[in-house]
């Protein structure tokens, strides 16, 4: 459940002009869909909005706990305006991509973006297989199921092979979830653990990735999130005992959580426990305020899932992991986290990524 930055080319303008997002001629997520893999890793062109999200933790030769985020958005642009101009004249769909690196060795967090708008269109996605690109950044799956990610920015580049270690997990009801009480329905599944190998380049020096683990999300939907939802906090947690946890909090304007906040736990044996808002809690423990945007983000959290006797503390690898992309005009925080805690009373450790959106300006889509 992640819509960060998805209001590609100022949806605020769109909403001001149109009042609401029309999903009339797009496909709608329904309960009777059966997912099939790897075919469903490909692009679903009949949906208005789709994204592929990769986050991960790398161990390099220098033993750092390096984090990366690489996301590709596909967005149909009918009804979409920017500066009074119809976006669909230029690109439909539009492909936007964000790439971020968390580098504790250099105490650096860097991000960049690609807008597949340059003519001829330099973004695209295949509807036959997982192949999505925006200019020179790309995610591409091979026949053995492995996925190659390549992206570069000024000081960093990645060329990674992600090997799935678990089957795709459907969130919500058979992959279907509601984007807030008054929001649209969407499909969402994850590959919660992929083994990472490949190369990481810092300042022109390539380094072999010694070990690493990644998480992949794929979502598609048409229409918009509940209008009273201002943003969300999304967690992807990988524990050292082999269990993985996704949790998504939909924050409403009045400070309460939308009842469609939910999550999924994948136990080490592969069995799945799906839970809703009242079955878990997420407590903010420590704040950090961005100097750039003046937005305050919680960077330490406690997550409790009583049914599984899970009690976790999440702590940002570094406070500043805020992205302020230009094209999407949505500031958000997405960063690598360390995890410590207990499971059934015994200590446990892990790694996580956290995404927080809508903490400054209200998020609209």
């Amino acid at each position: 459940m992640r819509m960060t930055a998805l209001s590609f080319i100022s949806l605020t303008v769109l909403f001001a002009l149109c009042g609401c997002a029309s999903s009339g001629h797009y496909a709608t997520a329904t309960f009777d869909r059966r997912f099939s893999f790897p075919a469903d890793h490909a692009s679903h062109d009949d949906f208005q909005t789709e994204w592929w999200y990769f986050t991960g933790h790398l161990e390099l030769e220098d033993k750092s706990e390096t984090g990366f985020e690489l996301v590709f958005f596909r967005r149909k642009t009918e009804h979409l305006f920017r500066m009074g101009l119809p976006v669909w004249w230029f690109a439909n769909p539009a492909y936007v991509s964000h790439f971020a690196v968390t580098d504790p060795i250099k105490n650096a967090f860097k991000f960049d973006e690609r807008i597949g708008l340059r003519m001829p269109l330099k973004g695209g996605a295949s509807s036959d297989r997982l192949l999505v690109w925006s200019e020179d950044w790309r995610a591409e799956a091979f026949a053995n199921g492995n996925i190659r990610l390549s992206a570069k920015m000024k000081d960093y580049s990645i060329d990674l092979i992600l090997a799935p270690k678990k089957l795709p997990i459907l969130h919500g009801e058979e992959g279907l979830s509601r984007k807030g009480s008054k929001g649209t329905l969407g499909y969402y599944y994850s590959i919660t653990r992929l083994e990472v190998s490949g190369y990481f380049m810092r300042n022109g020096e390539n380094m072999q990735v010694k070990a690493g683990q990644a998480w992949m999300d794929h979502e598609m939907f048409s229409g918009s999130i509940s209008p009273d939802v201002s943003g969300w906090d999304w967690f992807s947690i990988q524990l050292d005992d082999g269990s993985d946890l996704m949790a998504c909090l939909l924050r409403r304007d009045d400070g309460t959580l939308d009842p469609f906040s939910y999550g999924t736990l994948i136990r080490p044996d592969g069995s799945v426990f799906r839970f809703m808002k009242d079955e878990f809690s997420a407590v903010e423990l420590e704040q950090w305020t961005s100097r750039k945007t003046q937005i305050t983000y919680p960077i330490r959290w406690r997550i409790l899932l009583p049914a599984e006797s899970l009690d976790l503390i999440l702590e940002a690898v570094m406070p500043d992991q805020e992205l302020t992309p230009v094209a999407t005009e949505i500031d958000y925080w997405e960063g690598a986290m360390r995890v410590i805690g207990t499971k059934g009373g015994s200590p446990i450790k892990g790694k996580a990524y956290l995404e927080m959106s809508g903490r400054g300006e209200k998020f609209k889509i």
Binding site: S126, D136, K152, G204
Partner: protein, 396 residues
Amino acid sequence: MQSIRPSFLQIAKMNFSLIITVLVLLQSVCGCALLPAEYKTIENGGPVVLPRDMYMVPDYQVQWWYYTGHLTSEEGKEFGFELVFFIRRTEQDRVLGIPVYNYSTPAHMAHFAITDLQSKNFSYSDIHNKDFFTRNGNAGALRNSLCIWNGDWSVKEIGNLYYLKASMPQYDLSLALTPKKPPILHGNQGRFIKAARSDKQAGTFYITIPRFEAEGTLFVEQKPYKVTGSVWMDREFGTHQLAKDQIGWDWFGIQLDNGTDLMIYLLKRKDGSYETQTSCATWIEPDGTSRTIPFSKIKIEKLKSWTSPRTDTEYTVQWRIKIEPEDLEMTIIAVLNDQEIDSSASTMIKYWEGKMTVNAMYRGKEIKGKAYLEMCGNAHPITYLSSFPALKDQKS
């Protein structure tokens, strides 16, 4: 034929001229001494140790990783490609009298070519330390794993697979290669002699992985094609590889449909004849066992030639080659006549490297295959893979 000259190349060339101008001025101030350098050769280097010698080796003057392959899209479109990375130590090199190490050490160069059978189009691009002014020219190679990059072009070993990436304005290639045969050591345990004298031997260490299964994506004019195919890889490193009277070579990498692969290396002399002593072939069985076939057992007939209108150079584009001990007779025909590369922006060689089809009789049965052919020295003598005209200054 359409030669793609991307803008970065022109920029690189401009930079190149600029640097040279600056260096000419500097030179008058600083002098122009070359650096002393002791390179290892096939006489005092080796033996080949794998996998170490597949990675960058620092002690030799020149080395390369050569990938050629045959690709077919799901729709049945056919393509050939060449992607090669060169690294050359430059302590002993000059361009226009100026020591090269001042601006490029080592020099990283790369060539990328696509033969597009649909459009009958041959396109290529060549680069020398792409992004000239950035640190390392944004090119490099690792010594502890197979990882070579030059700008956005790269070959990287990840897991047990090899990943290639290269692009030019019209084409963008990304491949995953699964090796189907072990590395083959040519000559004597990889010591491949090209010039034999009573006092001196010259050549390279030469290793081939003759067959990979390839899969990936080729973008043609921004449209992605899913491709599969077979790829050949050559790895050579050495110092002083040719003799004075040798001007180049004709090289074949042949993949027969029965799983046999064949490398043929013909060294060309100034008088147009082939070197009888060192020219040879390596026969590689489907299971990866290999043996050398001497030149005396190879019968070569040149059937048809083509002359490049740009360089006025003549190349043989149809061949008949007999490997007598194996009872194999092949007719090898270029899929396009014009697969000539002018690498003046990088290695400064004009050569021909192209995709070929093979029709053969093998022990009385018809058999087909694919090949790549490289013809070097037709346009001008190749002096030690001489990237730089300055090498003519060197004594052999």
